[in-house]
Each structure stands twice: as structure tokens, then as C-alpha cells.
């Protein structure tokens, strides 16, 4: 059933939902942007519709709700340990198609990859239901259509919402949510998906191993040695990046009492791949950039088969302090691949 709500009704319904669920949505944090007098938009708990920022894309992805930047995984004392407790409260996340598709990718990596399921991801993901936010087209960094992540299936969400200044239209799929809308006016709303982005990205064909090896050595990556500052803002903002490290926090003087946390890590930050003997596989910004780009636009698909890892949300471009555009970078890869294929007589 679909409903139409004015702003007061929308606030009331959100308030009621927030009593049962942990409701998360993009929220404005005034003056907390990178530069002064700019805001940061990121996911947080909400209890009214008016708190939800729907007009623009959030700076940070919905993954933060499911995969927080840090969480305690277990607590230890001498020879015992106890896993952190799972929370009970069910969760609703307002998310655009790119963020919902990103969770399918995160699930591939964290739940079932190599026959191992990440308990911490799984127990959180089980509590989550998505409320699809109608995407009004995003911005000029978005290329979801090129990455095939502009649409989702009805089975992917519990309800779909289109916000406007007047309130919201909702299509409720999950019967569990129906009672919250009892008494609201019905309408014929069905969600629509973005059909075309201003930005289009063509992903190069890297199926040829010789081409891939040549691309690895191509001088195009050297550009990033001077441009990229290796801060990792792109991977923190990425809808799909899952990498984390673990860190033990010791509570006091006894080094055997404390907790182990998992903390988001970034392949872009120096030291990510450091091994015993200080050996690093990717010691330059260009190497790290190459790793990330090929991971998002080749390696993941080569392993899991179904689709590329990048959902085209454009947040990495949006958050890069050095104005490195992922779409422009993929275009440069395309040009390099053409050049390599021509030189190998494979064009």
C-alpha cells in the first residue's frame, strides 16, 4: 500500500518508528564539514522526518551504520575472553539504491567469502531493513547507471520513500511497517529509479592478463605520486570498502586486561600492507591508487563474477581533498588500456 503524508504526519510516523527501531538516516551536522562554515552530512539516529537530509547525497555512506568505523569485538582478561554483545533492537536505514547495492557487495566480502562468515557483520546485517530513498539524481559525481547500481528489487527494501518539502510519499512492502501508516491517506506512489547520470563511465576490459601486467607498469599511475596525499578519505567515504584492522586497547597497567577493536583501515594509507621486516608491496601513492582502482573495477568482479565492486556513488570523488576524480581516473585507465592493446597488436 502507498501513502501520502504531510510534514507533521511524516514526523509523527518517524517518531513512532524510532520507538521500535533504531532509525538511521543521513543527517546534517552543522559546521562539521572539512572546511569552515560547511556542514557534514552523515548517517545518524533520527526520530523525525525533518532531520533527514534527502535533498543532497550524504558525504559518508550508509555502510557506517552496519560497519561502524570502529567497534569492540571482544574483551579479554588473562586467559578468558568474551565477545562483545550483539544489540537486540531492529534497525531501519534510509538509503539510496547505491547504498543498498553496496551492502550486497559488502555481504559478498564479509559473509561467506572463502567459506567464512564474519559474525559481527552478520549479526548486525540481520537486524537491518532498508527504506529505499528515492534518489533525485544525485550530483555530478554520481555514475550509478554505468555501474548498474541505480535500481534495486522490491525484496531489497521494506518500504520506499520519496521526500519533498510537503512531506513524503511511501510505498510499504513489509507488512510489519503497515500499522505505522494506519489512517494516512493512500496514493499511487511507486518508487522510480535514476535512468541516466550526467556522468558516464566505461569500465575497460581487463580480461587479458598481458594487458593487465602492462597496465600495472604503465606511467599513468605516477601522476598520483604527486597528486594523491594518501589520506584515505576516498575509502572511508566509499560505499563498499570493507577493510579493517584490529587494535588491542589495554585498560590499565596490566597488559592482559583490555579489549580488541576492529577499526576501519585504508589501502590508501601508507603502512596498510606492511609486513614483517617492514616490507611493503605498495610503497607509493601511485601504487596504492592502482591497487584501489583495479580492485574496484576488475579484481572484485574477477573473484565474485557478478558485478564490479564500485557502485558509482561518487563519494570518493566528492570527498577527495586533492580533487582526484574516480571517473576521470577510470577514463585514463581506458586510454592506457587502448594504448597498451595497440602496442601489443591486440586492439
Amino acid at each position: 500500500m502507498s501513502y501520502i503524508l504531510n510534514t507533521q504526519q511524516a514526523d509523527k510516523v518517524l517518531g513512532a518508528l524510532a520507538e521500535k527501531y533504531g532509525v538511521y538516516a543521513p543527517k546534517r551536522f552543522v559546521n562539521q564539514g572539512r572546511y569552515s562554515a560547511t556542514d557534514s552530512i552523515r548517517y545518524d539516529k533520527v526520530s523525525s522526518a525533518s532531520e533527514i537530509v534527502w535533498q543532497v547525497k550524504s558525504d559518508y555512506p550508509a555502510k557506517e551504520v552496519i560497519n561502524p568505523i570502529q567497534q569492540a569485538i571482544f574483551y579479554f582478561t588473562e586467559d578468558e575472553y568474551r565477545a562483545s554483545k550483539a544489540k537486540e533492537q531492529p534497525v531501519l536505514i534510509f538509503a539510496r539504491p547505491c547504498d543498498i547495492n553496496a551492502q550486497k557487495i559488502q555481504a559478498k566480502i564479509l559473509a561467506g567469502n572463502g567459506g567464512f562468515t564474519d559474525m559481527y557483520y552478520e549479526r548486525m546485517r540481520e537486524r537491518v531493513k532498508f527504506i529505499l530513498m528515492d534518489c533525485n539524481g544525485g550530483d555530478d559525481t554520481c555514475f550509478c547507471v554505468s555501474m548498474g547500481s541505480n535500481t534495486v528489487d522490491e525484496s531489497d527494501y521494506a518500504a520506499a520513500v520519496k521526500f519533498s518539502d510537503q512531506g513524503m510519499e511511501v510505498k510499504v512492502i513489509d507488512p510489519e511497517l503497515e500499522p505505522f501508516f494506519a489512517g494516512c491517506d493512500t496514493c499511487g506512489f511507486t518508487p522510480e529509479f535514476v535512468k541516466e547520470n550526467e556522468l558516464k563511465v566505461t569500465v575497460p576490459d581487463l580480461s587479458d592478463k598481458e594487458v593487465r601486467l602492462a597496465l600495472k607498469k604503465h606511467p599513468m599511475w605516477q601522476e598520483f605520486n604527486s597528486r594523491c596525499v594518501s589520506c584515505g578519505a576516498c575509502t572511508v567515504a566509499c560505499s563498499t570498502c570493507t577493510c579493517f584492522t584490529t587494535r588491542d586497547v589495554i585498560y590499565g597497567e596490566n597488559p592482559e586486561v583490555g579489549e580488541r577493536r576492529r577499526v576501519t583501515a585504508s589501502c590508501q594509507i601508507a603502512g596498510f600492507d606492511q609486513m614483517a621486516g617492514q616490507r611493503e608491496f605498495r610503497s607509493t601513492a601511485g601504487d596504492r591508487m592502482r591497487f584501489k582502482v583495479l580492485h574496484k573495477f576488475h579484481d572484485y568482479k574477477a573473484r565474485f563474477g557478478d558485478r564490479h565492486m564500485c557502485v558509482g556513488c561518487g563519494r570518493c570523488t566528492h570527498r577527495c581533498p586533492e580533487l582526484i576524480s574516480i571517473s576521470a581516473t577510470v577514463n585514463k585507465v581506458n586510454a592506457a588500456v587502448e594504448e597498451i592493446k595497440a602496442s601489443m597488436g591486440k586492439a
Binding site: 569552515s36 557534514s40 561502524p68 572511508v236 587494535r247 586497547v249 577493536r261 576501519t264 583501515a265
Partner: protein, 355 residues
Amino acid sequence: MNRDINVKKVRLNCFRQSKVPGVFMLQMRVPGGTVAAKYLTYVQHIAETWGDGSFHFGTRQTFDIPGIQYDDIPAVNEYLETYIREVDSEMCGADMNTVAHEPHPWDPKSGYPTIGARNITGCIGNYHCICGNINTFELARKIESIIFPSHYHIKINISGCPNDCNKAHMCDFGIIGTSKIDYHPERCLGCARCVEQCEHAATRVLSLNEATGKIEKDPCCCVGCAECARVCPASAWTRREKPLYKVILGGRTGRQTPRAGKMFLNWASEDVILGVLKNWQKFSAWVMDYKPEYLHGGHLIDRAGYKKFKEIILEGVELNPECLVAEDIFWHETEYRSNFNVKPLSMHHTAGPKA
């Protein structure tokens, strides 16, 4: 050329005497160094009609137009009416019918009523700059109506951040935009990018605690530049909603005792800055026995002594809770002549109302 010209009167009208008798340079006020670009046509018109066709960027961010004949000053002033009205009166809210807040009717055809409080300068600030913490020219416009028109001489420079590109350290009353920063450990990756940046660009107050993977801060020495917030990849450092300010007092250049200013206020709110400046006239008037001289504010503080300055300037100002005030200030002057201040008692300056 033999003309009887009261150059002091002409200077008070913002026309500066030149090497050539009878030829002057107009200085147009540009509070905070930013006005609509359309006013460049005014500059061009004045320069090409009455000046020598050239234009100079004043060191205090005024539009300077040299080569104006004394006899043309009335025509220039008449043409200036729109500029003064729109910029000072309407944009900044300066009451042109007062001088030092006392009633003093302004003849709009007569140009600037006084040169007293000098043009407030500003860097571009956070209107544009990625490092700026404040909108410098919006603050300058608020201050303009407090200090102008007034015959008392004060030089105010506003810098958007502690990098102080606009040299708040080299004027009477330098204002630097800062931010108090909040740390969100739950968003911190422990990458220490902020630690590197603070060491490289600021005061080295951050360090990575290896035992917790989190950042520790020595808040005492933080200059409030917000570089940590700018470089953090995860928004683990964020600015508080309202910026705060440092005031750097008593800096100056000059032929006698140039010196860099020293910090008078730290973490002051905008209300405190405006409140303090509202007391500036009162302080200046008191020091000079209510007779403005061609002497800028830093010298007045020397004559009265910092403690007397502090007493008058903070009168009725309610300090915000974070605000810190210098108990004393010891400037370090360049003495071009050693023992510059040692001289016969009869040559000493005094301060305060004469009996």
C-alpha cells in the same frame, strides 16, 4: 604653484599630500578588502577623470587614486557620495551623521568626514580559503560601524586563521579567526594524519597514543587553526558551530619602535570583540584628554600602560566562558636607537585627562 592649502584638513578628508604641491591622492575605504566588483568602475572613472589614470592598491586595502588636483577635490567628493553611502552607510551600517558616536551632520557631497580609524583590512577568509575559520569581511563590516567615522586612529587587520596572512601581528588591533575543535574518537582511524599536519603546519599539540590507537591533544598550546579538521579523512575532528577569535594587540611598523603585537584575548566570541571595540573611543579619548592627535592606538596603550588599557577596554564587556585575557603584555620592540625610551623627564608623554 603657490596655493594656500591646509593639508591637514585635506588629509582628514582622505586626500593624501603628494610631492607635487597641490596634487593629492584619494584613498577610498574598502572594509575587509572586499566590495562588489562594480565599484571598480568608480575607481576607473575617478582615475581617468580627475587623477593621472593610474590606480594603486593601498597597503591597507584602500583604492588609492593619485594625481588629483586640489581644485578637483570638490568634484571628486561629489562623485564619491554614492560609493560612501552604499559601502559605508548601507553595507556596513556606519552612521555618517556622527563622529565617534557624537552627532555630527555629514554633508554627503563633502566626501569622507574623517580619515581617523583606518580602513579595516582582511584576507579573503572562509568566503574562499580552505584554511579560513571566519568570514573576514562580514566581521570587518560589523566593526566599521563601531570605529568609523571617528577621528581616533586605529588600525585593525583581520586574518581568517592563525596563519595570519593578513598580519594581525603588525597592527594596533589584530583579529585572528579560530575554531574550537571537538574530537570524535569513535570516528578516528588512528592514521595520525592530523598529528603530521599539526607538527608540520601548527603547534605540534597532537600525538598518537600507541596503546589506544587514538589521538591525544595538549589543548593549552592549540592555536585553533583547525588544520586537524581539514585533513582528517573521517571527520573525527570537527569545528564547533561558532568560531572564536584571538586578538593580537599593539603591533606596529614605524621609524621608532616597530614591534609585533602580542596576544591580548584568546578564544573570544564575536560579541566580546565587538564589545571591546565599542570601548575603543572611550579609551582613546581618555588617553588624549579628548583631543584626537595623529597617533595610532598602539602608542596610546604605551602612554596609558597596558593595565589601564585593559581596565577601560573591558568595561561592561561580558566575556564568554572560554575567553582568556592577558594579565600583562611585554612587547619586544626593535629599538633602532638603543635606550630609546631613556630621555629627560620633560620629554615624557603623559596620559589621561589634564587637571
